[in-house]
């Protein structure tokens, strides 16, 4: 039973991270119809930038905020320079975002080398014991931050004026333009948010899993799979799909074999692509009749 809880917690931690990456995909996809294959790189860059700031002697909080903002701004730039010009061509969008991911990874190699970087845990105390189960304090940070962020995003989309504008733009961009809603601004906002969310995911997981130049790519693929599981374009589904995928992976590697981890993820991808391409929840903004 103790192993079960141990696995459950590690699954939840990884699942939350996948969920955040998946939300990053969703945010961009909804307003631009682009699947940003460089989404994972936001997490990598966020973590590495924060680590560097800390070595310069800044506090963790300040470093993290700077890392998040920098990645967000970088994402806006990428959208302006590379993604907006191709318009609606899906194939080009795919290859360009892959190109962006290659460039960002290369940049990370130049700046940080191929060695992994670590962040300090957020709390002094390393572990808690609950019964016989050992829980890392950072695990609580990850779960807490993720749940707060996901909840916050949900409230943003459903309760604030700007969030509704965002959804309106995703549902019907032409009509949104008639209301005077500037599409470029909303696109920029989408990329900024997805970069920020991705960076946060990278920063909170970095103390538990070392980050290096290619860590983002792996996270990106898992995040995409989480999107497919939950229903592409649906932020709630993305979170759900992420947690589900994290749990499945954890249990598969805990009870079957650790090599099964990736196999499970790809299996889920194929199962959902071919059997239920709409994912578990389907569209977020669907009309309930």
């Amino acid at each position: 039973m103790d192993t079960f809880f141990q696995i459950l917690i590690s699954g939840l931690v990884v699942g939350c991270i996948y969920g955040l990456v998946a939300i990053g995909f969703t945010t961009v996809y909804n307003v631009t119809n682009v699947v940003n294959f460089a989404q994972g790189e936001s997490s990598m860059l966020g973590a590495l930038l924060t680590a560097t700031m800390i070595t310069f002697g800044f506090s963790l909080l300040l470093s993290a905020v700077c890392g998040i903002l920098l990645v967000g701004v970088l994402n806006i730039l990428v959208e302006r320079v590379a993604i907006r010009p191709v318009g609606k061509n899906i194939t080009k969008g795919i290859l360009i975002t892959i190109g962006v991911s290659v460039v960002l990874q290369g940049l990370a190699v130049v700046l940080w080398g191929t060695n992994a970087q670590a962040l300090p845990t957020f709390s002094q105390q390393q572990n808690f014991n609950i019964g016989n189960v050992v829980v890392a304090s950072q695990a609580l940070w990850v779960i807490g931050t993720s749940v707060t962020l996901m909840g916050g995003l949900y409230l943003f989309l459903t309760r604030t004026y700007l969030g509704r504008t965002f959804r309106a733009c995703a549902m019907n961009p032409d009509t949104a333009a008639l209301m005077g809603i500037p599409a470029g601004m909303i696109r920029g906002l989408g990329f900024f948010m997805s970069g920020g969310i991705g960076a946060i995911a990278g920063i909170i997981i970095a103390p538990m899993a070392l980050m290096q130049y290619d860590s983002g790519a792996a996270l990106g693929i898992k995040g995409f799979i989480a999107c497919i599981i939950g229903g592409f374009g649906n932020p709630v589904g993305a979170a759900l799909g992420g947690v589900l995928l994290g749990l499945l992976e954890a249990f598969a590697s805990g009870y079957i074999s650790s090599g099964m981890k990736n196999a499970i993820a790809f299996l889920m991808l194929l199962v959902f692509l071919f059997i239920r391409p709409g994912g578990i929840l389907g569209e977020f903004d669907k009309v309930k009749r």
């Binding site: 795919i94 290859l95 360009i96 190109g99 290659v102 190699v109 196999a263 692509l273």
Partner: protein, 319 residues
């Protein structure tokens, strides 16, 4: 007459390289040949039919490993193992095509990307068969009569012989009804079915051909190097192939060589930049998408058109 210019120029250039006796150039030439063969297949699939495959390295890997394993473990004649590798590549691609072409756009891209990674993982994990991350050496060389083909010079001839034959065939195919059908499907599937063309059948056919050629190239690569490991068959390799097709003007014929030479030469030049090489490669990929056919391929096109115009030759492609 114009149809002959590109092939003749290419062959003359290759003969020149061979006669120069420069080992470095010949070695690069072999690399080019090995990139050209799968690029021809991808030229049909991605260039003509506009179906993206981010996992093409998987078929090359399958070819390489099938050749290595059948010849090492089962003592099959190396030439026959090359044939077997080609067929296996084609068969796998056919099955993948049947399954995947129900998808399109982002989903197709991700599914093929996942396919590439699955194959890569299997190659690393299935140690008993593949030798794991350390790879495996090929014991038996390719032999023609009594000539050992393992040297760069011999392989240069073999590789380019095969590549040129395939380019010729692909060039023919593109001009045939089949090739026209591929272009129609690539441009609009609904138009294709409105004029009686079955989009899926053509897509699967293109996929099968490209898988077979990828397998062939993998097998040749394995015999040339005499040693294979999972490492080279990564996503970057698939991306390089796509870049070649894009730079070659999305064509499936001789123009691909523009992309091949460019990518191989650039890769060599970039080695001097050390860690900056991937950055430049990525920028190149982005630029190739943002300025489609605007440079290399386009320059080639303009050159050809201006030649055609001056020659007063108004024959269409079909004659």
């Amino acid at each position: 007459m114009n149809r002959a210019i590109a092939p003749v120029a290419v062959v003359l250039g290759l003969v020149g390289i061979y006669l120069s006796g420069n080992d470095y150039l010949i070695n690069l030439g072999v690399v080019c040949a090995i990139y050209t063969i799968p690029a021809i297949g991808l030229g049909l699939l991605f260039g003509r039919c506009r179906q993206i495959s981010l996992g093409h390295a998987a078929f090359v890997a399958i070819g390489a490993y099938v050749a290595a394993i059948t010849s090492n473990e089962y003592g099959i004649d190396p030439w026959f193992s090359v044939l077997l590798a080609t067929l296996t590549g084609g068969l796998c691609a056919w099955a993948v095509g049947k399954l995947m072409f129900r998808l399109s756009g982002h989903h197709l891209a991700m599914a093929t990307l996942a396919l590439g990674m699955i194959v890569h993982t299997v190659l690393v994990e299935w140690r008993s068969v593949t030798g794991g991350p350390d790879g495996t050496a090929l014991i038996n060389p390719l032999v023609l009569g009594s000539v050992d083909l393992m040297s760069d010079r011999a392989f240069f001839l073999l590789g380019w012989g095969v590549a040129c034959l395939l380019l010729l065939a692909s060039d023919n195919l593109i001009r045939s009804p089949f090739g026209l059908g591929l272009r129609v499907v690539g441009e609009s599937e609904s138009v294709a079915s409105s004029i009686g063309i079955k989009p899926n059948a053509l897509k699967v056919a293109a996929m099968t051909i490209s898988g077979g050629l990828a397998g062939l190239s993998g097998a040749l690569y394995a015999y040339w190097l005499g040693y294979i490991s999972p490492d080279p068959f990564n996503v970057a390799f698939s991306l390089k192939l796509l870049l070649i097709v894009a730079l070659g003007g999305y064509s499936g014929s001789w123009r691909l060589l523009v992309g091949v030479f460019f990518v191989v030469v650039i890769s060599e030049v970039l080695k001097a930049f050390g860690r900056w090489d991937t950055i430049i490669f990525g920028l190149l990929l982005i630029a190739a998408m943002l300025y489609p056919q605007g440079w290399l391929g386009g320059m080639f096109d303009q050159f050809r058109q201006s030649r055609q115009a001056t020659a007063g030759d108004k024959r269409g492609e079909l004659n």
